[in-house]
């Protein structure tokens, strides 16, 4: 499965590149990622949420890196869902913004795991990546992921439709939501 998405961020290429190159930052805006931990100069360990409250983990390495231009990576070892990603950065015509283009490729296995992964991404798998990039833009342009009363939990917004009413949260709800 190939997912391609793009957005334009009103920050210079060097800032956007630097933010992405610290792969540990990816879980702040990518819905399915729980953690990316650096294990070496070009290697990382990734944890993602999976169906049935499980999580899947894999190691990855950077395969291509041109500062202020592009970053490529791929899973290594026997990842449950082998995957590769690349992101490239293009100065936008307005002279101040950066176009971010992302391509994620998942090698979805057969059998039960494959079905579960397909279900996880749903009918419009690209939508998740579109939302991820919207949040990347929020983080880089405004400092954090934007929350509302109807969609208070940032990354989890899409999964929570229909939403809770647009009505302030009780302190219990806030405590529970933050713990989840």
């Amino acid at each position: 499965m190939d997912l391609l998405a793009t957005t334009t961020i009103r920050r210079p290429v060097s800032d956007v590149y630097a933010f992405w190159r610290r792969l540990e930052n990816l879980p702040t805006f990518m819905a399915h990622l729980q953690e990316v931990r650096s294990t070496g100069d070009r290697t990382t360990h990734w944890t993602a949420s999976a169906p049935f409250d499980r999580s899947v983990e894999w190691d990855a390495e950077i395969t291509d890196e041109v500062p202020d231009e592009r970053i490529g990576w791929r899973s290594t070892g026997d990842a449950d869902v082998p995957n590769t990603g690349k992101v490239w950065f293009v100065p936008a015509p307005d002279g101040v913004s950066t176009e971010v283009h992302v391509l994620l490729v998942y090698d979805i296995p057969g059998g039960k795991l494959g079905e579960a992964v397909a279900r996880y991404f749903g009918e419009e798998p690209h939508q998740q990546l579109d939302d991820d990039l919207r949040r990347l833009k929020q983080v880089l342009e405004t400092g954090e992921v934007v929350r509302s009363d109807g969609a208070p939990w940032g990354k989890r917004a899409r999964k929570e439709f229909p939403q809770r009413p647009a009505q302030p949260l009780s302190s219990d709800e806030i405590a529970k939501g933050e713990a989840a």
């Binding site: 939508q127 929350r147 509302s148 949260l169």
Partner: protein, 391 residues
């Protein structure tokens, strides 16, 4: 706290809800001192805007006192104790739309941008109390309200103007003004305004302020037309005369140079036949609008003129007069108001006495009576033009 909520089609209810808290670093909490009911709220209550949910707190026109600020708000910009009017579009101040002063198209303030994009092709900004399509933000018809990006939008009121004088800077005064500004008014212009609701009244006053020779108000409610007349505008009652013929009479056969639609998707029509067509299509949701005013504005406007649309539309409309629009070189301009652009200059006009926003207020009620306020405003009872609510 108490807050006015959407309780299903045609029903609002003041209920107990939790007090708001800071969810983002740049939030503030405002204790509301005055809030108002808007024609846009009627579209929500009448059920013409999708993605409303039972319990949604309504209200996008409000002002009050800052009682808490998030850690990310620069104290040089906003502090506890400040008296502020809050613009209805929530805007980040940092994206390309905000940089271009297209505040109501902010690219970052709508957590439900993905849904808005599906309906509109591209997302729109978050708006207080205005469905989940525009973010699912609780509104300001309440005792307290959370204001995101509080370091960007709120306008501090440092003079001793009353709430009533400045409250409408949150929406309808800038909206009316933008409607007139989009008309590029020239000194010889005749400007016709469909809708003598509060938004229409402010569009008329703004058209005159911007130098129009004549301003014509079109509506069917005699008391609303009288209000426009008392403010010095010419009036047409569309239930009594044929609007197009009357406009031709008033303009030596040319038609108004500029036309403003301050009615939107729930227009009523002098002709029962066409009204029935749109009513039925709207009821079965195969058309989302009843665009009588817009159609009439396009057909009436002088060739080469501008039709400025500030009435709200939400989806798709039928029988759009594309032939008139194209063949007669008309320009169509529109938008949810970019309120932040106009707040400071319009505050100056209020201070100078060139605009008097209080002239539309006919009712002031406690927040607790919000349902009655909606009823009076919607059904044009008791001479109701604009309702201010006091929490």
């Amino acid at each position: 706290m108490r807050a006015n909520t959407w309780a299903g089609r045609n029903k609002v209810e003041v209920r107990d809800v939790p007090d708001p808290s800071i969810l983002n670093r740049r939030d503030a909490i405002v204790k509301v001192t005055s809030t108002a009911i808007c024609g846009s709220d009627l579209h929500l209550v009448d059920g013409y805007v999708p993605t409303m949910q039972d319990g949604d707190v309504l209200g996008h026109e409000f002002m009050g006192e800052v009682v808490e600020v998030g850690a990310g708000v620069d104290p040089g910009r906003l502090r506890v104790g400040d008296r502020v009017v809050v613009p209805f579009p929530i805007a980040c101040g940092a994206c390309a739309a905000c940089a271009a002063e297209l505040w109501s198209c902010c690219e970052n303030s709508n957590p439900n941008a993905g849904i808005a994009e599906k309906m509109f092709g591209h997302p729109v900004a978050g708006i207080f109390g205005y469905s989940h399509l525009t973010g699912g933000f609780a509104g300001g018809q309440s005792e307290y309200v959370r204001v995101p990006f509080a370091d960007v939008g709120p306008l501090k009121i440092e003079s001793d103007l009353t709430d009533e004088q400045v409250l409408f800077l949150s929406d309808i005064l800038p909206t009316g003004y933008m409607g007139a500004e989009m008309c590029d008014i020239q000194p010889s212009d005749v400007v016709a305004v469909w809708g003598a609701g509060p938004v229409g009244q402010f569009a008329m006053d703004s058209a005159r302020l911007l130098g129009a020779a004549t301003v014509i108000a079109i509506d069917k409610e005699p008391y609303r037309l009288r209000m426009a007349e008392e403010a010095g505008h010419t009036t047409i009652n569309f239930e009594e005369v044929d609007v197009r013929s009357r406009l031709l009479e008033l303009t030596g056969g040319r038609g108004p140079d500029k036309c403003i639609d301050a009615v939107g998707m729930e227009a009523s029509h002098g002709s029962a036949h066409l009204h029935a067509y749109d009513r039925v299509k709207q009821a079965v949701r195969s058309e989302t609008e009843r665009p009588h005013a817009l159609r009439q504005a396009i057909l009436s406007c002088r060739s080469g003129g501008i039709v400025s649309v500030i009435g709200v539309y939400g989806g798709f409309l039928d029988k759009f007069p594309s032939g008139a629009w194209m063949n007669r070189s008309l320009t169509l301009r529109t938008g949810q108001c970019h309120v932040q652009r106009y707040m400071t200059p319009l505050l100056r006009h209020i201070e100078n006495g060139e605009l008097d926003p209080t002239r539309v207020i006919t009712h002031t009620l406690p927040l607790q009576d919000a349902a009655r306020g909606f009823d009076l405003f919607k059904n044009k009872q008791d001479g109701c033009e604009k309702v201010v609510l006091k929490p």
